[in-house]
């Protein structure tokens, strides 16, 4: 198993999205440990650090080295934890920008847990309405439990958030164990022979 990657589009530093991502990674490692699996390395992509480079790539089509490394990190990950703050009923622009620019195929068959943060629980539908269609389109293997953390969850005595994190972590652990993704091979990997192109 290679690494897990936490992709967080939190705007602050630290952000509640990062916090949620870290908790999900811990829960995944715990579940893997309980299943007797060796703990994979956890890598974190704070998209705020890539904000300018993402915007540049979007408009000038020049991928920076740092950005390419980030894409490669996702393309070789065993599992992905994707966390966005909810803004205006959707994922934030930073989150969308990153996944817009990821080559199609990078997430194909790759286990992903979706998670989001927001002020109140009323934002939680953003996961179903904005994140799920995006990750289905990208053909990710999405864990059944998505985790939404509202501000009140962080201070709540009830164990709802903790339970959901553990559940999602366990699901991701199972997916990365039973349905391992292959490393993304880019457009150079499978070049059709010209004879077949001529035959089209």
């Amino acid at each position: 198993m290679s690494h897990l990657v936490v992709i967080t589009a939190g705007m602050g530093s630290p952000s509640s999205s990062r916090l949620l991502g870290d908790r999900l990674a811990d829960a995944t490692l715990t579940a893997l440990g309980a299943a007797g699996q060796q703990a994979p390395e956890v890598r974190v992509l704070e998209l705020r650090d890539l904000a300018v480079e993402l915007a540049t790539y979007y408009t000038s089509h020049v991928p920076s080295t740092k950005l390419q490394e980030a894409f490669d990190l996702v393309g070789t990950a065993s599992g992905v934890i994707a966390v966005s703050p909810v803004l205006n009923a959707g994922v934030n622009g930073l989150f969308k920008l990153f996944f817009d620019l990821l080559d199609e195929g990078v997430l194909k068959g790759r286990p992903v847990v979706l998670a989001a943060t927001g002020g109140t629980a009323r934002h939680s539908l953003a996961i179903d309405q904005a994140m799920l269609p995006l990750f289905f389109y990208l053909k990710a293997t999405v864990a059944p439990t998505a985790v939404f953390a509202a501000t009140e969850d962080w201070g709540s005595a009830e164990a709802g958030l903790v339970r959901r994190i553990e559940q999602a972590g366990a699901e991701l652990a199972e997916l990365v164990t039973t349905r391992p993704a292959t490393d993304y091979a880019d457009e150079f990997a499978n070049v059709p022979d010209f004879a077949s192109l001529l035959g089209n």
Partner: protein
């Protein structure tokens, strides 16, 4: 090694003066630039084909024919000729005409064109870009190599007993390059035919460019045209030079910052680090470009984009003077360590010789 320039033919306002050249000014400037390129000793002048503003060059063979009449030595080429939206019959005829008028000083580079709206203007669909490039080019070759063509395909009316005229000069078709930035099928196409492969490179890092070139070289060998290191490779690039490096930076920055292709994006420093754009002294340009043969292997053609981003003609001509000054060093550098079996890019003369 062929060293030359290529133009995308943009009409861009000079941000330092607010002057926007007229189409006529830019078209005439392209002729002056081509003549100057020959004067400073360059080997190739190439111009693009565009059918949308802000570009003027819709008819490269017209421009190149006019330039051919006013030059003696420089090889005339395109960057690129649209193999997707042009009728291959017209390409075959236009370039055979140009070959005759220019006494063989002609080759051309195939490109697909990446502007979606242009395709329907010519009755085509960009989603079929690769298929168009494959079918049209196969027909183009046939038109040049066979006197009487019977042909049927998907994208144009069938041909029965058709002869494209004039026949290529001395019965030898112009050498063809295929330009592509990130479409492996095009590298494969170039390799399949043993044609040249040109990577524009100007918006890309050398690591990416190298992967495309490596793919082409590998497939060139696979298709039986010879060892991978004998494949015919060209690269694009761009620079802005002044004798003093800081002067180059200061003078070019306002152009870079608002240029339609670069501007409002990465800083000039980031862009120069990530792409072949080199803004500095002639020595810096020399060292940067010589380093690319370490990456992609010994190659055959280096073209520079210099008349862009609203730079006035006077400045472009000065750039050519500076390029002319480092040209001997550039040639010497490219020749250094180049094994004897690495071929030069084919020319009309060498192809005629080979056909004997």
């Amino acid at each position: 090694m062929q060293i030359g320039i290529f133009s995308v033919s943009d009409i861009t306002t000079d941000p330092t003066t607010g002057h926007t050249p007229s189409e006529n000014e830019r078209i005439k400037a392209s002729v002056a630039i081509a003549k100057k390129a020959e004067e400073v000793g360059l080997d190739v002048y190439a111009i693009g084909e565009h059918h949308n503003e802000p570009f003027f060059s819709s008819s490269p063979t017209t421009t190149l024919g006019y330039i051919a009449a006013q030059t003696e030595r420089i090889l005339l080429s395109t960057a690129t000729t649209l193999i997707t939206t042009n009728d291959p019959v017209k390409i075959a005829e236009d370039f055979a005409m140009l070959q005759h008028l220019a006494d063989g000083r002609v080759d051309l580079m195939m490109g697909r064109g990446n502007t979606g709206p242009v395709y329907p203007w010519f009755g085509k669909d960009i989603r079929q870009g690769v298929d168009l490039a494959v079918e049209n080019y196969a027909l183009l070759r046939q038109l040049w190599t066979e006197d009487v063509v019977n042909w049927q395909g998907k994208f144009r009316t069938p041909l029965q007993g058709f002869t494209s005229t004039p026949r290529p000069l001395d019965g030898i078709a112009p050498f063809v390059w295929h330009g592509s930035i990130r479409t492996p099928e095009i590298a494969e196409q170039a390799a399949y035919y043993g044609d040249g492969f040109f990577h524009n490179h100007i918006f890309w890092n050398i690591e990416h460019t190298k992967r495309m070139v490596d793919l082409y070289r590998r497939r060139f060998e696979h298709h039986g045209h010879g060892p991978a290191d004998t494949a015919i490779v060209g690269l694009g690039g761009q620079f802005f030079m002044r004798r003093n490096s800081q002067d180059a930076v200061n003078e070019f920055r306002p152009y870079f910052d608002v240029a339609p292709v670069y501007g409002h994006g990465p800083s000039m420093e980031d862009f120069t680090a990530q792409t072949p754009l080199t803004v500095g002294s002639p020595q810096q340009v020399l060292e940067r470009y010589l380093s690319y043969s370490d990456e992609v292997g010994h190659y055959q053609r280096q073209l520079f984009l210099i008349d862009h981003a609203g730079l006035p003609l006077k400045t472009v001509l000065e750039q050519l003077d500076l390029l002319g000054e480092i040209l001997p060093e550039l040639r010497k550098g490219y020749a250094a360590g180049r094994p004897a079996h690495i071929p030069e890019a084919p020319t009309h003369a060498s192809l005629v010789e080979k056909a004997r």
